[in-house]
């Protein structure tokens, strides 16, 4: 039985919207030199954030960003009932060590670079369900820790093909509330794993585009909307190659999103000046773009409704070395300017 709350097979339309009380984003030096520099709360030039390693640095980044989001909401740590958080590292060590001092019940999540969407979805479901008045959703990535884990340690100095993306050093944190906030989350569409059999881990855009197309298509069907009903449809980190594939796949299914589509991975760096090749990637890419630029636009009323669709490439070095493909997943979250706000 599909109620009004449950739309189709994959979507939820909340009877009572959930509000974004505050958002915060902190990034590294390279992101702070890019086109979005004025939208970030803080730019920190030290890549280890005052710690001894990239991993500890990423934990510190998550901690600082989360504290900032709580401060911006004028709350205390103990006001947050649940944390929904994740990162790209094996066994989520950035999250564990970054958020453990908060002493808040934690749901650890892994959705690769779609984690910000997964966290916001579960956080919104939790607030709407009456399980909490205030929760926080957090996702981060770090260039140094990600390269070390997925490709080579930076010291190795390997060459990067032009199709490769640059993992964003950045964290986005969002405090969600049942009452307060200028931006609301009225609905979500949860993604499935989609595998087109692409095996090139240095061409993530191509791996993830089919998953983004799948969840955007389902979303538009479930909500009976057209692309034009959104001021922006925002993917996470498809980059140039993935963007083309996404638009083509959706066009083949009757939806032309080209006029409203924006990819965070293509916005965050200034290419070719910053030499990042196919754009930005990582959980942090979409998380900081949403927390900064996109939330800013919604709050000002420059946009009224956007669809946020971060995209994840599901692989590990083990699965890749064993010859597996790189499937994708994407989760869609609707964000709107609060009515009568």
């Amino acid at each position: 039985m599909v109620t009004e709350l449950q739309l189709g097979k994959q979507s939820l339309a909340f009877e009572k919207p959930v509000y974004v009380m505050s958002s915060a984003c902190i990034v590294g030096q390279k992101e702070g030199e890019g086109p979005l520099k004025d939208t970030f709360d803080e730019v920190i030039e030290d890549p280890t954030f005052g710690k001894d390693s990239w991993e500890e640095g990423e934990s510190e980044l998550m901690k600082q960003t989360s504290l900032l989001a709580i401060r911006k909401a004028k709350l205390k740590t103990e006001d947050i009932r649940y944390l929904f958080a994740g990162d790209l590292l094996g066994q989520l060590i950035a999250t564990t060590f970054g958020l453990m001092d908060f002493n808040i019940p934690l749901f650890g999540l892994y959705g690769a670079c779609s984690t910000m969407g997964e966290a916001l979805s579960l956080a919104a479901m939790t607030v709407h369900g009456g399980y909490a008045d205030t929760v926080m959703a957090v996702a981060s990535s770090h260039f140094g820790s990600a390269e070390k884990q997925f490709r080579f340690p930076l010291e190795y100095g390997n060459q990067r093909p032009m199709s490769s993306t640059w993992t964003v050093t950045g964290c986005g944190a969002f405090v969600l509330s049942k009452e307060y906030g200028d931006v609301m989350i009225p609905g979500i569409t949860t993604g499935k794993v989609v595998d087109y059999g692409v095996k090139d881990s240095l061409n993530m855009g191509a791996c993830m585009a089919p998953a983004a197309a799948d969840v955007i298509y389902q979303h538009l069907k479930d909500f009976k909307r057209q692309p034009e009903d959104y001021d922006r449809i925002v993917t996470g980190d498809l980059g140039k190659i993935g963007k083309e594939i996404l638009c083509k796949l959706l066009k083949d299914q009757g939806y032309d999103i080209s006029k409203v589509h924006m990819d965070c991975g293509m916005e965050i760096y200034d290419d070719p000046e910053q030499d990042t090749h196919a754009g930005g990637s990582g959980c942090g890419c979409s998380a900081v773009t949403l927390a900064g630029k996109l939330m800013g636009e919604l709050k000002k009323g420059a946009t009224n409704r956007i669809l946020f669709v971060p995209t994840g490439a599901l692989l590990s070095t083990v699965s890749f070395n064993e010859g597996q493909s790189v499937p994708g997943i994407a989760h869609a979250v609707v964000l709107e300017k609060r009515k009568n706000a």
Copy 2:
């Protein structure tokens, strides 16, 4: 504001219980030779489950177990609205490759060996919230893939200290429903990351016991219950050493759980005959013990109410090699025989 649904800082008491429609468990050869052998649905002797690697084998194990749970519920794959699933491997590759053919919206979870509790908690919240009529929660682990990832590949033949545990090759899957099933989930208590600074990754019991003690203490406080209100309080994989620490920590806080405590890690193997040292571990350990033995007891009425508290040790080889401690997390789920069932 704490409503009746929200108990204290960490617990939920569902106004309408959520039901366990079916559970399934498939294990490997060693588990199938242990004391719980008659409680498992299937024992498969091939450690790669017909595939080419341990990782692909673990994926196949997750797939087969999930299909069995769906079949036991007399449902089809498309009847399941959401999957809540996780495993121990970096970037959750067992989950991704095991469950992607199902074409069901997926929330990927990482809670180390507490994942079965995290998955059941979010799955129950989702059904209770009206977001789905039927969902599935799945968690797995595999001795070969886990040793390769966390310690050494099996071919290396390293020695294991007596405090080390043996990762269970096994998967548990649960179909949750808003209406059907003989066992219900009336409440949950969600755990925080707890760090006592233990740095010995081969003594996981000591790392996890403080987290288990913390969440059990909070649970008993929040629900205003005594240990005797449960037929069993079941931890995941503390082993002998962790069990002692847990009972002592809780005794210091005024709760004597020794009469009702059971640890899945101490039940699943026959030591010293099976030479597993400090007992079983891994997400699969508590998942298969719950899906088999404990669900069987509840359905028969041999027990009426249990507290399931799987425990996770939060580390990766990277965090361990960088000298970090091994914090723990545990999530508590109440399971009761259905009233007037």
